[in-house]
Amino acid sequence: MVRLLRINYKELGLKCGLEIHQMLNTRTKLFCNCPTVVRHDDPDLEFVRRLRPTRSEMGEMDPAALFEFKKGVKYRYQAYEDSICLVEMDEEPPHDLNREAVRIALTIALMLGSTLVDEIQVMRKIVIDGSNTTGFQRTALIAIGGKIKVGDKYIPIQTICVEEDASRKISELRDRREIVYRLDRMGIPLIEIATAPVIETPEEAEKVAYRIGQLLRVTGKVKRGLGTIRQDLNISIKNGARIEIKGVQELGLIGKIVEYEALRQANLLKIRDELKSRGVKPEDIKEELIDISDIFSNTKSKIAKKALERGGVALAIKLPGFRGLIGKEIQPGRRLGTEFADRARYWAEVGGIFHSDELPAYGISLEEVKLIEERLSCNKLDGYVIVFEKKEKAVRALRAVIERAKEAIIGVPEETRGANSDGTTKFLRPMPGKARMYPETDIRPLTITRELIEEARKSIPELPEEKYKKFKIKYKLSDEMAKRMVESYYLDLFEKVVEELNVPATLVASTLENTLVSLRREGYPVERLDDEQIYGVFRLIAKGEISKEALPEILAYLSKNPDIKPEDVIKRLGLSRLSLEEIRKIVDEVIRSNINEIRSRGNRALSMVMGRVMEKVRGRADGKLVSEIVKERLKNVLSL
């Protein structure tokens, strides 16, 4: 691959827009009174449905949806009796729009300086991939406009919506044509913030995503943790196409995805130019599918052999002028041939394809390659693609390849792509037609009253930079810790503990940011601790019931026994703080049993005694206090 080391994005004409989806931390879901929890225990019940492209959709239907339906795909939904109701199951009409979610979204819109609409109408956005039991996602636009500042640049906000999250895909049972979804996530309120496509570099994309995430976090009203925020990216370059990349969960991947997508489009344009200079036109690619099974009657290729034995065929097409280009790398590890294969897999569910630029290989011999080229009458610039499959599937696969090859002659095809874990992307589905949306007639429109706006305005939080200043000056955190705390997963908890309990802010910060991290490294499942438990531990400190030295042990124990109350852990671990009397007794005992050694060491005995005492009182007494007592007692003993 010609990998430009320093890509000039300005020259490429990179334009990128972000669509951020963040889960709101409301008490109930957007359209029913179920709790907003994602669960990992076994579901209680299942049911199976089909979704059908509706009649009025027929005119200009999403080809992917129609295709899915024709394949006879069924959706198996899993649910829990105690956290999912008939609304998520599409067995009861939605309840009123959750006011708490609207209020949070309004607060965020006000923070961004957006213009609120006066009446919200919930819409149905048709999505027939089964991720919604209804076949549509309910969504409402609440504001347009506004901006955020990133560096010196203002990034305009286009729209702010509240919508219901979709269900989680659990598995895909291809042989049964069944996709399994779990309904726990469905209906959790999301805020969707879309920026204008003005982002010009990968770094900028990452910064914008980061800034929006940060602004959402400081509201204290959004969910935290993996999977609670997802980004969609719209990326195009000059003469390229608008590509939508769905569901990026990792912030750190955004830059790479933007870079690789710009690269992909640039490389596809180079391929186009090369095809042009070779004089290749779309109509040169003929739909002539040639059965070349006989060439492989004695093949050593296992794939070919297996397919033919099972009654399949070897079907080939010629791609005039494509030689050398099918194998051209367009993203790390991905070639034009990979794009052909993606399409063949999607439309024909074949395992893979073979193309001229990678053969001979995979057991296909040079002699066989020669025979193929002869049969297809390829000249030295012509490429070809072969599929080993049942006839009907093979035909569909090659038709998909032909379509993609024709697009390569024109440029970059518009499509929806999904991110791989290395930042490259793969074909997901054709770009849906203009989103078909129509009103959700089961829900009354909601008027945004002045009272509602005032209420939302009251919840506007301090900005991250204001918090940082406060943490440094008022809470006396170090510069580095103040920065970390603003970004912390435990930001809300930190502020709550510091404001409500008499515990030094520095101790709270180091516990949340250092102690918990090292415990996690040691293998304690600290992610199982909820805010309430950690708060309870700090309350014990505030009341003087435990010493700060006991914190790591208590937190470690709680993480493994999350059902126990912090108060009870003290008893179990024997970590109640020792009285002065008790400490003295322990110190005296240590001195008595080591008296000879102490006498021989004299003044250097301090650290030895201190160490043995601390072993016994660990976590139950403050080290400074112990040291004072040891010094005092030793002085007595040594002066005798």
Binding site: R55, E91, V117, Q121, M123, I144, Y438, T447
Partner: protein, 457 residues
């Protein structure tokens, strides 16, 4: 069902003035400058009946509908005049020759309505092309013809319309000779209509099948597709020729149940499997792959001897539910208003409080038929067990056996349209006409439920 609005009538005067002064019409594309400086572009939509009439509804380019208050509109200008929406393409069905012929009759309800994607309004639409287009699978199953007889909400169904439907069905069977007739009906009163057709059409060459949807047909998740396919299969394969209801049998799209019209009740407000056979087994089960299996061997067979049509119903019949605070005056009122029959949904085995006895006696004395059913829904009335029942029987109250209160009401309306002779009324009410009375109450008629699942008992 919202009618496609002709104009701007849902809006406040001030909004209408704003638009009319500038010659702006519904569905014009406009640009609005908001008081806060930003511009909104979109198509002007009719005002839904709910919400703030001072908010102008726009459909934005991204598909969202939003409302902008008239006082926030600083400037409004047309950027594109409206065009009539393009005709919806309807695909011509490709039919195999020799398919059995099934006739559809539309009466309204969720199943026979469509949404206009431009405006969001719902309007009736029920043609054979529509049905094929919605359900291409039918092209391999049946030759379909369809007509719209009524277009009403289910709750607006009246007794005269039962007669109209019954006569239409009989006429179709006689003239067109389909293997079955399918009536698309709103689900709320479907059980009543099914019972009415059961009594009105007692001998038929094929079944009359009521079908509906609990989720409207314009949704991808609608239950109507499976219901209509199962109804069509029933029309073709059923050995019986009764009035039946075909609806989902579970919350999955896996099978439908065929319920006898006089023994079926809507037992849930919103679930797909809302319909249940009460005091009877469903007649058949139809699965999503098209298999049809009989579950109940008591039924009226298809007959070539010519239909029996008795489609008159007496509108002067009331169905009332007994409750602890009830006074006799409610019955007195019905008597004073000249009612011919009263069906009471009594307590338990068929009782009412003593405070009603005087009024019931008066009603019976004036030749009004009084039929007792039970608000327990499941089970049979038996008025010989307790003194109150015996008193009521002695006065002349007719026990409704194991009939559903709604079925007893439909039957009494039907009987009273034939005769007002109280002896004859009693005889007919106690005679099983179309399996509305089961002589035997079988254990399996009543579901035992634990955790939502039936368990063996």
């Amino acid at each position: 069902m919202v009618k496609l609005a002709e104009g701007l009538e849902g809006y406040d005067k001030e909004v209408i003035r704003l638009l009319e002064n500038r010659g702006i019409k519904l569905f014009d594309k406009v640009r609005i400058r908001h008081r806060q400086g930003i511009a909104f572009e979109g198509i002007i939509l009719p005002r839904p009946q709910v919400g703030d009439p001072r908010s102008l509804i726009l459909k934005l380019d991204n598909g969202y509908n939003v409302g902008i208050k008239v006082e926030n509109i600083e400037k409004i200008e047309v950027i594109e005049k409206s065009e009539p929406s393009p005709l919806v393409r309807v695909r011509q069905p490709k039919l195999k020759p020799g398919l059995p012929y099934v006739h559809f009759v539309g009466t309204g309800g969720t199943i026979a309505s469509r949404i206009d994607y431009k405006t969001g309004a719902v309007y009736p639409f029920f043609t054979a092309e529509e049905i094929y287009s919605m359900l291409p699978e039918l092209e391999d199953i049946a030759f379909v013809r369809a007509e719209t007889l009524l277009n009403i909400f289910s709750e607006d169904m009246r007794l005269r319309l039962w007669e109209k439907i019954a006569k239409k069905v009989a006429e179709i069977f006689e003239k067109e000779k389909p293997v079955g007739v399918i009536v698309a009906h709103g689900t709320d009163t479907m059980g009543y209509t099914a019972a009415a057709l059961g009594f009105a059409l007692r001998r038929l060459p094929g079944p009359v099948i009521l079908v509906g949807a609990q989720r409207s047909s314009d949704r991808p998740s609608s239950d109507s597709a499976l219901n209509v396919i199962a109804a069509t299969i029933t029309a073709i394969k059923a050995p019986f020729a009764e009035s039946v209801v075909v609806m989902h049998g579970s919350k999955s799209d896996n099978y439908c149940l065929v319920h006898r019209g006089v023994k079926v009740r809507k037992t849930h407000t919103s679930r797909r499997d809302a319909f249940r056979s009460i005091n009877d087994l469903p007649l058949a089960i139809v699965n999503s792959k098209g298999s049809f299996k009989i579950l109940n061997n008591r039924f009226l067979r298809r007959s070539e001897e010519g239909s029996i049509v008795e489609a008159k119903f007496d509108e002067k019949v009331a169905l009332i539910k007994y409750f602890p605070g009830m006074e006799g005056e409610i019955i007195d009122f019905l008597v004073d208003k000249g009612y011919h029959g009263i069906v009471i949904e009594g307590t338990g085995l068929g009782h009412v409080g003593h405070q009603l006895l005087k009024s019931i006696k008066r009603a019976l004395g004036e030749g009004i038929a009084v039929v007792m059913t039970s608000q327990c829904i499941w089970g049979r009335v038996n008025m010989n067990v307790y003194r109150r029942g015996i008193e009521l029987l002695r006065m002349g109250v007719i026990p409704g056996e194991d009939m559903l209160p709604e079925t007893a009401y439909v039957k009494l309306s039907w009987v009273l349209a034939k005769t007002r002779d109280i002896k004859e009324v009693r005889r007919l009410m106690l005679t099983n006409m179309v399996f509305e009375i089961n002589e035997r109450s079988e254990n399996r008629f009543y579901p035992s439920l634990v955790n939502g699942e039936a368990i063996e008992n």
